[in-house]
Symmetry: C2
Subunit: 674 residues, 2 copies
Amino acid sequence: MGNKMQNRRTERGTFFPPFWRLDNHYVLVDFRREVECLSDDDVEVLTEGKYNCKVDGKMASGAPGMLHLARGKHVLELKVYNQDSPPALSMRSRSFAADSGWMVTFEDKEWIDASGKASDKSGTVWLPAEVSRFGVPPSQWRLSVEPRPAMSVVRGAGSLLVDFGKESFGYVRLHGVKGRGRVSLFYGESKEEALSVDSCEVLDKIDVLGDTVLEGSRAFRYVNIRCEGGVRVDSASMLFEYLPVAQRGSFRCSDQEINKIWDVSAYTLHLNTREFFIDGIKRDRWIWSGDAYQSYLMNYYLYFDSASVTRTLWALRGKDPVTSHINTIMDYSFYWFLGIYDYYQYTGDASYIRLSYPRMVSLMNFIRGRRNKNGWLEGLPGDWLFIDWADGLSKKGEVSFEQLLYVRSLETMALCAGLAGDGDASQKYGEEAGEMKKKLFTDFWDEKRKAFRHSSLGGVTRYSNMFGIFFGYFDAQQQDAVKRGVLLNDSVQKITTPYMRFYELEALCATGDQGRVLKEMKDYWGGMLSLGATSFWEQYDPGVKGVQRYAMYGRPFGKSLCHAWGASPIYLLGKYYLGVRPLEPGYQRYEVRPVLGGMQWMEGDVPTPHGNVRVYCSRKEIRVGSVSGNGVLRFNSRSKPVCKEGVIREVGKNGYEVDLEGGKEYTVKYVATE
Amino acid sequence: MGNKMQNRRTERGTFFPPFWRLDNHYVLVDFRREVECLSDDDVEVLTEGKYNCKVDGKMASGAPGMLHLARGKHVLELKVYNQDSPPALSMRSRSFAADSGWMVTFEDKEWIDASGKASDKSGTVWLPAEVSRFGVPPSQWRLSVEPRPAMSVVRGAGSLLVDFGKESFGYVRLHGVKGRGRVSLFYGESKEEALSVDSCEVLDKIDVLGDTVLEGSRAFRYVNIRCEGGVRVDSASMLFEYLPVAQRGSFRCSDQEINKIWDVSAYTLHLNTREFFIDGIKRDRWIWSGDAYQSYLMNYYLYFDSASVTRTLWALRGKDPVTSHINTIMDYSFYWFLGIYDYYQYTGDASYIRLSYPRMVSLMNFIRGRRNKNGWLEGLPGDWLFIDWADGLSKKGEVSFEQLLYVRSLETMALCAGLAGDGDASQKYGEEAGEMKKKLFTDFWDEKRKAFRHSSLGGVTRYSNMFGIFFGYFDAQQQDAVKRGVLLNDSVQKITTPYMRFYELEALCATGDQGRVLKEMKDYWGGMLSLGATSFWEQYDPGVKGVQRYAMYGRPFGKSLCHAWGASPIYLLGKYYLGVRPLEPGYQRYEVRPVLGGMQWMEGDVPTPHGNVRVYCSRKEIRVGSVSGNGVLRFNSRSKPVCKEGVIREVGKNGYEVDLEGGKEYTVKYVATE
C-alpha cells in the first residue's frame, strides 16, 4: 500500500517517485494458530493468495473453502503465496474470533527427510500477524469517498474556473460533457496557481467522451478546466477522498481566532491522515519520518488512531538491511526512534516495541557505523541533513542538533531494549547515552553565549537549543539563559516553517510561557488565516508578500498549502493548555495541568486508550472528567481552592493537586494566578 | 520468475510451496547511462513499469515513448516503478546498442533543497544492469513449447492410458472432447504411478467443455485420463515445454551403453534446465543449491549456458539479510560459494564475482556467526544438514563433511575477495582456511583407519573422504589409503543416490581410476537403463526390487525419476575421459588429457567461451582441435608419439605434452598405455 501511494506523485503530469529504497512484501507467508472449538464447527477459509492448509499436522486436499473442525483443540497451519499483494487470511468460525492469535513467519524451515519425517521447526521465528481493521480483503481496501459540490464557478470561452471553497482532496467529476476532445485540468491550492497553466504543480490532460470521473486523486481548492476541440463541459463536482477516522479530540475557548486555528489545524491533519501520515496533499504525498513524527503527536490529541501510527512507522522503516537513513535524512532516522517511544508512552502498547526492536537495533547499528572519530555524526555521502527549510542553514561539520537527536535516540534505545527484554543492551545504551549527553556540553555548549553552538564550526541557531529545553537537558539557569538569549532573541535566525515553530513553541510552553505562545499562535497561524488559508502551509514567512508566498523549490507554486506539520496547534493546545498528558505508559497515570495563557475559558476532550479526558477551565473554575485511569490535576490558585469530589493537596506556593479517579467528574473552584 | 516457478508445485492437486524465505524484486529502479549519438537520433523508449525520464539532467514531460537526442554525448536517467514484475527498460537507437552500459540502483538518494538545488548523488551505489537475452519484455517471457504426439494409448471404459514413450514435461492436450463433465488426469513417471489413482504424486481434476489444454505443466511419461459424467475424450497429445538452449557438447564412443548413458543424461539435464536449474521435473521443481551445483558443472560440458548458472546462483542467494542457510541446508550454503568460483574458472567472468561478493560476505558472516567453541559448524535449530539421502546417516555433532565444505568455502572466499579487490579480506580468509584445514586433520583424521571420521562422534563414511580427494587435501599416502580403505571398501555404507555417486566417481577419476569408474557407470546408470529408464533418477539402489523402486519419503511414488543430479556422466565423461578442463579462468589456458578407461575410442566436443574443443581419441591416435585459446595436450604412450602440427615434450615415464594453439588441429600417433 505504501509503495502504491508513494508512487502516485506527479509533477505537471510527469511521474515522480521517491528517491529512497522501497521494499516489497513477503510473497509467501505461513499462518499458524491454536484454536479450541466448543462444538463441531464449519470454518470458512478466505485468503488473498494461493494456499494450502494443515489441520493438526495433516494436509487438507486442495485449497478447501471450508474446514470441518471437530469439538476440541486444533492446530491450524496455512501457507499463502501472493506475488501481487501481501498474503492475507480470513477465517469465519462460530468458535473463535477471526482476528487474533495468529502467528506468521516468512520461512517455517519445515523440511521432511527421505522417510517422510518432518523437521522440528525449532528454528522458526514466529511473529504476531497484523490484523486488518478494514473489513475487506487488504488489497481491495480504498479510502472512502463522498460527493462534494463546487462552491462557485467562473465560466469563460471553453473554460471553467471552479472553486470548491476550501482545500480539498479527491477526484474531479466532469458533468454535462458534450462532444469529444481533450480536457485539461489545472489544479490550484490558490486561485493564482490554477490560473497559471504554465506553472501550476499538478495537472491532468485527458480525452473525454461523456461525463467523466478523473482517475487520479488530487489536492486543490480551485480547478481551471479548459476544453479543446469540440468538447464542452457544463459543470464539475468532486468525490472527496478521506480516511474515515473518528475525531475524538475537541477544543473550544473564549478566543474565536484560536478556535478557528484549532479547526483549520484539525482539517489540515485530517487531509494528511490517509493510507499513512503524509507530508502534504498536493505534491509529494510521501511518508516522511520528520513530518510523520509531528502527525503522531497531533494524532494523540485528535484521533488517537494507533493503527495510523504503527503502519506509518513500519512503512518508514522497511526491511533490513539498512542502506540509508530513513528518507535518506539523518534527523529523520532519529525521529523514527522517538516516534516509537512516544507511541508506547501514549498507548502503552509494549508489543509493538517488541516487534520493532530488532529493526531499531539494525537502524541504530547503521547509524553507529557512520560515527566520526569523536563519536558524533557528520553528513557522509548519501546523508541528507534536513533540520529545516531555512536560508543558508549550514549542514557542515558536527551539527549539534543532530547530536542531540542522536543522544535522545540512544536514551530511547535504552528504554525500548528494556521493554524488549534485552537488559544488557538497555544498560549499554543507557551508559552511552549518559556519556554522550555530557559530551554534548563539552563539545557544543558556548559558555559565553550561554547556548549550544550550531555546530563544531560555531554560530548559534535555535534548533539544538529549543530541543535541549523540552528534552530536559538543561539545568534551570541554562534553560533560562537559552530562553532569553536564543528563543526570545530576534537576532538569531527566525524560523519560517510551522515544522520547527512546533518545537520552538513547545520549548516555550515547557518553560511555562503559554501566554507568549498563544500570542505567537495568533500571529503566525492567524497570519495564514488572514491571508485566506483554509488549511495550514508548508512554510509561512510573514515578511513575504503577494504571490511570492506560494513559491518554493525555485518554482512559483512549489509550496504546499496543506502540510501536516502546519497542524501543531492541536498538539500544543491539548498538551500545554488543556494540559493533558500521560505520566505512565498508556495513560495508566496521567496529568491534567490546565493553563489558560490569556484565554478567559477553554474546554475540550483529549483521547486516551480508556476514553476521553474532558477538561473545562475558566479563571474561576476547573472541571475534569474521565472514564477510567488514574490522573492528577495540577493547577495554581491565588486563593485556597475548593473541590467537593476530591482531596486538594497544597504543593509549594500557590500550587495544588487533586487525585483523579476514572469515571468521576471533578469541579474545582479557584482563582487563576495568570 | 523464481517465485512464480517455485510456487507452482502441487502434491496431488494441493499447493506445496517452499519452506524458505522468498524475496521479491525491487519495485523502483533507476537506470542511468551515458551515450554518444553520432548524429541526431530518435530513440524509442519501452519499459515495464511507470516511468519518467531525464536527458542531461532535464526532466522530459510525461512518459515519452520517443526521445529526440541531438548529436553528441548525453546522460540518460530513467526511474521505473513496477509493483508486479521487475522494472525493465528497453531503448532502440541507431547510435548505441540497447543492451549494455546501463547502471541501476534501488535508491539514488537524489533530493532537492528548498531552492530547487539537487544533491550530489555521491552516496548512490550503482550496479550494472542485468541484460535480458529473452527478446521480449521480461515479464512476458515463457519457456518454449512444441506439440508432441502420444506414442501409444490404451482405452478403457471412460478412460485412456496414454504413453508418451519417454519422460516428458509439458501441458496435456485433450482432443475430441464430447459432452461436458469432469476429467481427472493421473500422471506417472512410471506406468504403475499413473495407474495408482490413490498414490500418484501429481494429478489434475478439471471440468471440460470441448478440447482443452491443461493449465499446469507437468512431468510424466504416462497419463491416466478418466472421465466422469457425460464427457468423453478421444485422444491426448502434449505441448512439450523446454528452455531453448543449444547443446554444444557431444560424446560418442565405442561402447553403445555409455553412448546411451550420455544421451539419457543429456536429456535428463535438458528437462531440468528451465527458468532455473531445478532438482527434478515431477515434484519440487525448486531451486536447490546442492542439486544446482551439479547442474552448473554438467552445463559446462553440455551447454556452457552462463546465464542459466548466474540466474540460478542469484535466485538461490536472495536478498540480505541472511536468515537461514540456502534452502535451509548447511551444505547447500557451501555449494553456493563453490558454484561461484567454478563459474569464474570456467567462464572467466570476474564481473559476476564482483557483483556477488557483498552477498558472499554476508552469507559467510551468517555462517561464521553459527560456529561452535571449536570453530566448527554443528546443526543449530533451523539448520538442515542434508549431506545425502542415506539410511540412518548421523547429522549429530561436528560432521566432518560439513567442515570440509566450510574450509573449501573459506578458500573460495579468499580467491573471490582477491578478485573483488578486497586484499585484506583475501589474506584473512586465506590464513583462516589454512588454519582450519590443518585442524581438519587434528580433529577428524583417524590415523588407525587412515580416513576422516564421519564426525566428532566417530565412525567412517564416504562423504568427507571422497571430497578430501578431489579437493586435493590429502598427500599421496593418505589418498591411497582413503581410496582402498573407504572408496573401495564395501563394508563402508554404500551410496544410493546419483547425487553422491557424482562425487564418489569424481574422486576415483581424480585418482586416475577411469577404468573402474567406466564399469561403475555401466553398472549404475546402465542398471537404470535396463529397468527402462528414459531419464535418470533421484535415487537408485540396485538391491531394491519391483515397484518398491519408485517409493521415497514414505510415499509409494514419492521418488523422482528425472532428477538433474542423475546426469553426472556428462560431466565425468567430458572432464575425465575427453579430459578437457580450464587451467586458467575462462579457458585462457586449458588442458586436454584424454583417458579411454577401457573404451576403444571416443570423440566429443567440450564447449568453452572461445568455441568448442574437439577431441578424438583411440588407442593409437589422438586428435584435438579448437577455435582459440591456448591449451596443452597431456597423454601417456608406450612408444614415442608423433605429431606433425606441434612439438612433443616428454614429461616423466611414458608421459608427453603438446602445446595447443587455437585454430589448429593436432593429430598425435601414439600407443595407449592402459
